[in-house]
């Protein structure tokens, strides 16, 4: 009968996971086998005193393996039971420390949970509290929370109104080089403007929109099309990239019917 042999090639962070992986074999009364094949280097994480060296000098050889084998034996005398005990203990030690560290410290789930609960309480107090001082304090807490939480994601709060610049770009056939220049430079324009604002130490914000126009001989979307208002230049660039310079030969449309009355034209039609 076929048997499943499981080879686990990493040290599970928890013993329960390891048991789960072992359980992938020997299912439903069948036989099976399991082994751990580990890369020495990957164990550095767990064994704090253990520094694996690919080729340690002879003098260091014993010392560098000492912790790993957990006693007086060299690698070749390595006993499987000992090794597992050592690794398991190291693993538990490592994660207990890790867990303790994360407990209520900044950045942990608990920390954010507590912050959120405080925020909720402050929000309610800011509205409902009968004492004006308490309301003011709560409001300050709410603002502080929002500022901290949004700080890393959103741009800093802007006191000044957003300044919007609309660029109207003729996109007819002869404007190809202007369109190319806009495409090439728009990212630099925005980067430079933000850079100068930073150097001037000012919190200001601007948006740019591009709109291209042609003439009445075009379909509405080609007569006038526009990007969105953008703070980041990337989307502007992709909008401009999509603009193709064409049109601008409206003249023919006007001229053709006029010339249609010309005797030459008529004679061509009715030879």
């Amino acid at each position: 009968l076929l048997q499943v042999h499981v080879i686990q090639t990493f040290l599970s962070e928890e013993l329960t996971e390891e048991k789960q992986i072992q359980g992938r074999t020997a299912r439903q009364g069948q036989n099976g086998s399991y082994c751990l094949v580990l890369l020495c280097k990957s164990l550095e994480k767990y064994l704090t005193n253990f520094k694996y060296k690919d080729d340690p000098p002879e003098s260091e050889k014993d010392a560098s393996y000492e912790y790993f084998v957990g006693g007086d034996c060299r690698l070749e005398k390595f006993r499987v039971v000992d090794a597992f005990d050592v690794l398991n203990a190291a693993r538990q030690n490592f994660f207990t420390k890790d867990f303790e560290k994360s407990g209520d410290s900044k950045g942990s789930d608990d920390y954010y949970h507590n912050q959120a609960m405080d925020f909720r309480q402050a929000l309610a107090a800011a509205v409902q509290s009968p004492k004006p001082t308490e309301r003011a304090d709560s409001l300050a807490l709410v603002k502080k929370f929002l500022k901290t939480m949004n700080g890393s994601v959103l741009p800093p709060p802007v006191v000044r109104p957003i300044k919007r610049t609309l660029v109207l770009l003729d996109a007819t056939g002869s404007m190809g080089s202007s369109i190319d220049a806009c495409k090439k430079k728009i990212e630099e324009v925005c980067a430079r403007a933000y850079d100068i604002l930073e150097k001037a130490e000012l919190d200001a914000c601007f948006e740019v929109q591009f709109a291209t126009f042609r003439n009445y001989d075009q379909d509405p979307p080609h007569l006038l099309s526009c990007s969105n208002w953008e703070k980041k230049p990337y989307n502007l660039k992709s909008f401009i990239s999509s603009v193709r310079a064409f049109g601008g030969d409206f003249a023919r449309f006007v001229i053709e019917p006029v010339f249609a009355h010309h005797p030459f034209f008529v004679s061509c039609r009715h030879p």
Partner: protein, 194 residues
């Protein structure tokens, strides 16, 4: 028949629908207030006469229908050079109402939106039209030749746009000056404006 159509030279009607673009600026302003408009082009706006003619006159409607007939005859319906001016085409779009660039400039002035107009050639009718647009729209609009065809064309454009954006961000004259000084100091190519 289509072969004959190609014989006629293009070129006398060089205007573009700048007025539609300006109209869009005004309509956008009612949704999201605009600080400034930068216009880059190489052709003047359609004149009021042209717009009227295209939208209303019987004669042009005759021409339009005639062109349509020609296209059908030549199997060229939908060609990009065909007429798209039937009222049905424009219904429901922001371009449904005819407009003139001078009217839009008056509205831009009322909204306090300056237009900085940059013409990429020096043809007299373009220069004249762009100059008038920048003067008649909101205050302090500039009109300038943008030598996009030169080897420094892209750099000039970059400087023009950056300076315009920075100037719109400055709330006082001192701030505007500060931005300008910083820009000149930190970017070696900042002086290339012409």
């Amino acid at each position: 028949l289509p072969i004959i159509l190609f014989l006629f030279p293009a070129g006398t009607h060089e205007e573009e629908a700048v007025e539609v673009a300006l109209q869009y600026a005004n309509s956008e302003h009612s949704r999201n207030p605009i600080s400034q408009v930068i216009l880059i082009g190489d052709a003047p706006s359609n004149t009021a006469d042209q717009v009227l003619h295209l939208f209303e006159s019987d004669a042009s409607m005759f021409f339009l229908s005639f062109t349509g007939a020609l296209q059908v005859a030549g199997g060229r319906r939908g060609d990009s050079r065909g007429c798209k001016l039937s009222p049905l085409t424009w219904k429901g779009t922001s371009m449904a109402d005819q407009t003139f660039w001078e009217d839009e400039c008056v509205k831009l002035r009322a909204n306090g939106i300056p237009v900085h107009a940059f013409h990429v050639n020096k043809r007299s009718n373009v220069v004249e039209n762009f100059k008038q647009i920048s003067q008649k729209a909101g205050e302090n609009g500039v009109c300038q030749f943008l030598d996009i065809a030169s080897s420094q064309g892209a750099t000039i454009l970059c400087n023009l746009l950056t300076k315009r954006i920075l100037e719109s961000l400055g709330q006082t004259e001192e701030e505007k000056k500060l931005f300008n000084d910083l820009y000149l100091r930190h970017y070696p190519d900042a002086r290339i404006m012409h």
